[in-house]
Symmetry: C2
Subunit: 321 residues, 2 copies
């Protein structure tokens, strides 16, 4: 059994390669839900949907999120209501795009949760609806909200992750991140960690994607115990994130936005780190953090490259034993 | 000031004519909310939307409900989830069509109600978004649910109005109707009734559209007091409803599905009834119920005919004084 700790786009792309390299029925994606939000009364789980749609082959390949062949009719019709919304109201949030096809997923999730189903149940049902060959598990069935302290117009404030990431296009400095509700949230996957032959930390944002998963009660400790079976793929390549604000966020929060900084963050819970060829010259620095280091092509430009990366990762797991 | 007690399609069409006959800013539509429902977590108010969209000129003229130039992408994508829905779950209700354009209205309503706005507030905002020249008022800000006792496969059961009307296409016998929550619901419009120069009971289903409005605490009594200023347009023409199950429902619940039956139902609260030319021969029978009777062309086939009906209705109000 292989467990993959996953955020959104990067993790989803890696999983798409992993299912080419191992028996998909052995794979469980354990997905961040700190980005989950409620918009228009609908329960939105962005990372779960990105993983599901990507592994299903239904994702829009250009955007990296949402469904291919999407239309935006419902969104377009919000403008009329934005114009009459009273001061102080946040109804008709037109900054978070939800495609018409995609809406069916949020409708189903919202209705099932209202019926009393757990997010784990609903996520498994949605995975089945898309004929997914892997298991997808939300990191918790409890509500955790990633909150981001930002500086805007010289003033510090706290916003939800989506208000930072989507509404402000992650273009403001971050001074802190916390996970609301994390102390009382129960992880769904402690048994998975204990029973997995390998645990992969996908190339996701270490702070806001892997961070909430690690912060759940008992998880960091379970990863420490499993450390020799844990392999992380660095989301930072040559000092930059392929997508998203991971590099800037690391820097702003006092971490080094390099493979060495990633190694330092993951060393307590991870025996091996896979870094990109472009960072091969930093291999010794990475290993000096106390982790094994494997060099590979980690830019997932094609199914073949992604499959090769997954195979390298699986070899690293076996070598860790 | 003119108050119009309104259900859905018939009332909406009448209002579209009324605004041609009087100053629209004098008109308040008081709309049934017993049909309101929650689907996919969204607050749906079918009669309010039909009135709003129709008066705005945005209604689909063929269907009589929903927006013109509509697409159905979100609905079409529910099928995938219907297929995996566990036994007993009613998530992904694909029997109630919600168009993609229309969804924006439900999104806005749901988000505003979640913010603590009243349905009256939200309805007024939505009316403003559509530049409506009239006021639209839900009959109450409290939740009232019209429940219908039906016989199906020889067995009696109770379903919500939409489960009867839409899901079963009102094709099953009705043995009773009740309005859940009506005793504690507060009408929004008692002051309107007291201050109106005229009160019009639109050509709507007397049982399930006008019925809930009358059943709100204090309303029937207020209408009795205002009786001389109340004019009803019969929704029954030559023993049949133009649209919907009003005729069958009247019969099944022990009322006569004719203008005489309508007169009997409305006589306690209504001084004048407008009946169709096809029923002119029953004028004396109608008047024997203790109401004045006016004969007009009540089939609203064109704006001109509808405007003339509204003018006739307004004259009847003035003659009532």
């Amino acid at each position: 059994m292989i467990s993959v700790l996953a955020g959104g786009v990067g993790a989803a792309r890696f999983l798409k390669g992993l299912v080419l390299a191992v028996d998909p029925s052995d794979v469980t994606a354990i997905v961040n839900t700190g980005d989950d939000t409620i918009l228009h009364g609908l329960n939105i789980s962005p990372d779960i949907d990105t993983v599901t749609y990507t592994v299903a082959g239904a994702i829009d390949p250009e955007r990296g999120w949402g469904l291919a062949d999407e239309s935006w009719t419902a969104m377009a019709n919000l403008a009329r209501y934005v114009a009459v919304r009273p001061r102080g109201s946040t109804a008709a949030p037109d900054w978070f795009n939800l495609g018409d096809r995609d809406l069916a997923t949020h409708f189903y999730r919202t209705a099932r949760l209202a019926e009393g189903a757990t997010l784990s149940d609903v996520t498994a049902e949605i995975a089945r609806a898309w004929n997914l060959p892997i298991s997808v598990l939300p990191m918790t069935d409890d509500r955790v909200g990633t909150m981001v302290n930002i500086i805007e117009d010289g003033r510090e404030s706290t916003v939800t992750f989506q208000e930072y990431f989507v509404k402000r296009r992650h273009s403001v400095p971050v001074t802190g991140v916390r996970f609301h509700g994390i102390e009382s949230a129960r992880p769904t996957f402690l048994a998975h960690l204990a029973n997995s032959d390998g645990i992969i930390i996908a190339p996701s944002n270490p702070i806001v994607s892997i961070g909430p998963i690690r912060a759940l009660p008992g998880v960091n400790e379970a990863l420490e115990i499993a450390r020799d079976r844990v392999v992380a793929i660095s989301p930072i390549i040559a000092g930059a994130a392929i997508k998203g604000p991971a590099d800037r966020m690391l820097l702003e929060l006092g971490f080094e936005p390099t493979v060495v900084g990633v190694a330092r963050l993951y060393a307590p819970i991870c025996g091996t780190i896979v870094i990109d060829q472009q960072d091969a010259h930093r291999r010794d620095e990475v290993e000096s953090q106390g982790v094994r280091c494997v060099v590979a092509d980690t830019i997932m430009r094609s199914p073949e490259i992604t499959k090769a990366l997954a195979e390298t990762t699986m070899r690293a797991i076996r070598n860790g034993d």
